[in-house]
Symmetry: C2
DNA sequence: CCAAAAGTGTTACAAGTACACCCATGT
DNA sequence: ACATGGGTGTACTTGTAACACTTTTGG
């Protein structure tokens, strides 16, 4: 792994260390205050936001690259991360973004710079605990912040499409595998879990049926504790039974046919 | 699009036309005589088989590349084709294959040749009508032939893993979307369709339940004709109702939650 | 006339959906 | 005391699974 001291050094030496023409874009989902959120960067001199992205070291597994990018942006490791699509439209790239970054850094780069080529990008999506994230911008960006998924700012290039595809993948995923461990704190209530599901799916679910279905998967442990200090009846706390959770992750929930 | 006259020309000029370090591997499924089959290439001077593969022109959409590769190998266009995964282990590559090809062509290539770099590969899988395929080998191979999926020869690099992942994807796909139009001739019998499903899923299904379920999707048209010349009772022929078939492809079959 | 494959229908069980009542707590 | 949210149970509907008999045809 290499440390670059500036955008300019990145521009000059990056081509030596990274695979050419391929990047990784991460759609990092978090959940807070009943809202599904995505982590986005803002770019100096540029009007639209972008996804946390990065490149692949020449000797690095692509999953490791994604993990590294995630760690750099959030400070977190060991979280749910999965590739979901590769975006390969030749028109997807917009060199104006890179040029804006260069301009801001006072650089004039020749057109054959490695950063100004056509890039394919591998989409990864991550599920993280909102509370634990310590968001940091990268070389190219000014801020790194959470945005509500249904109130996103304008996104650069095809990043809106990438977020959309990630969300669709997450929704599908949700139906056949457990989700939640990575998005919620260690202890949570059933209504909180339900709210997460409703947010991801974008629809209301029946309280009682939801609870029954969730419990039927056998991946939850009901704790003796109850959430305190809230209005109305105190809800029970649950935690995931990690052994069973991971087993379910591997095997999936359903098995039609 | 560029025509290369020899492996050597490909080696020398390919780097100018193709994106670096990314290839496409196609898992082409066909169905014949109750067997699910995959199209594989054999390489001169080399002991194991490989998947039909190719590269991405610098101005080309990756889906178009996959389509082109498929056309070149099978003579078919307008067939079901879908990317399913990108394989990015830095150790996945084996330059010995390329070297074997070079050797066979009487070439000694410098180590920095574009073909000898680390490659990521995008996996696409295709479903084709076995009868219509006119298989042709490519620059690098000697033969292009069908192999039974459960009796595959040794495969080069990570191609066995790629086939496995494609099959898993196809199986999942089968549960939620219609499959069959691309793998079967225009007219087919219900037992033939069932056999296809059983083969892909690797398990026996109940005749009566299968038929009911299939018909319930409303994507089949029962024809007045029956298959003739077969032993025993003549089965009815069916065809797909393409309008409804494509609608189902878009919407999917199920909608849990 | 019989073996083998194809057409068709019924019943039982599991899963999903819809819905109602009681309980606990903070205001 | 009451409004609000949380805990729990039951009937209905739908889908899946298991299973048997009749029909046709080639040998």
């Amino acid at each position: 792994m290499v440390e670059f001291k500036s955008v300019n050094e990145f521009r000059l030496k990056g081509g030596k260390y990274f695979m050419p023409c391929i990047s990784i874009d991460c759609v990092i989902f978090g959940f807070h205050a009943g809202q599904l959120k995505v982590l986005l960067l803002t770019i100096a001199n540029y009007s639209s936001c972008g996804l946390p992205a990065g490149f692949i070291y020449k000797e690095e597994h692509i999953d490791a690259s994604a993990k590294r990018i995630l760690l750099e942006r959030t400070g977190l490791s060991d979280i749910f991360l999965q590739q979901f699509y590769i975006f390969g439209d030749p028109k997807r790239c917009d060199e104006n973004i890179t040029k804006a970054v260069f301009e801001k850094a006072g650089i004039t780069a020749p057109a054959d710079n490695w950063l100004l080529q056509r890039f394919l990008t591998i989409g990864y999506y991550a599920l993280v605990d909102f509370e634990k994230v310590n968001a940091k911008p990268d070389y190219f960006s000014e801020t790194c912040e959470w945005y509500d998924i249904d109130n996103l700012p304008p996104l650069a290039m095809d990043h809106a499409q990438i977020v959309q595809k990630a969300l669709l993948t997450l929704r599908t995923h949700l139906r056949y595998e457990p989700v939640g461990y990575n998005l919620l704190p260690a202890k949570f209530t059933m209504p909180e879990l339900q709210s997460l599901y409703e947010t991801i799916l974008g629809q209301k679910l029946d309280r009682r049926n939801f609870q029954r279905k969730m419990l039927s998967y056998g991946i939850l442990k009901k704790l003796k504790e109850q959430r305190k200090g809230v209005a109305h009846k105190a809800p029970y706390l649950y935690s995931f039974d990690l052994r069973k959770y991971h087993k379910a992750l591997e095997e999936g929930f359903q098995s039609a046919w």
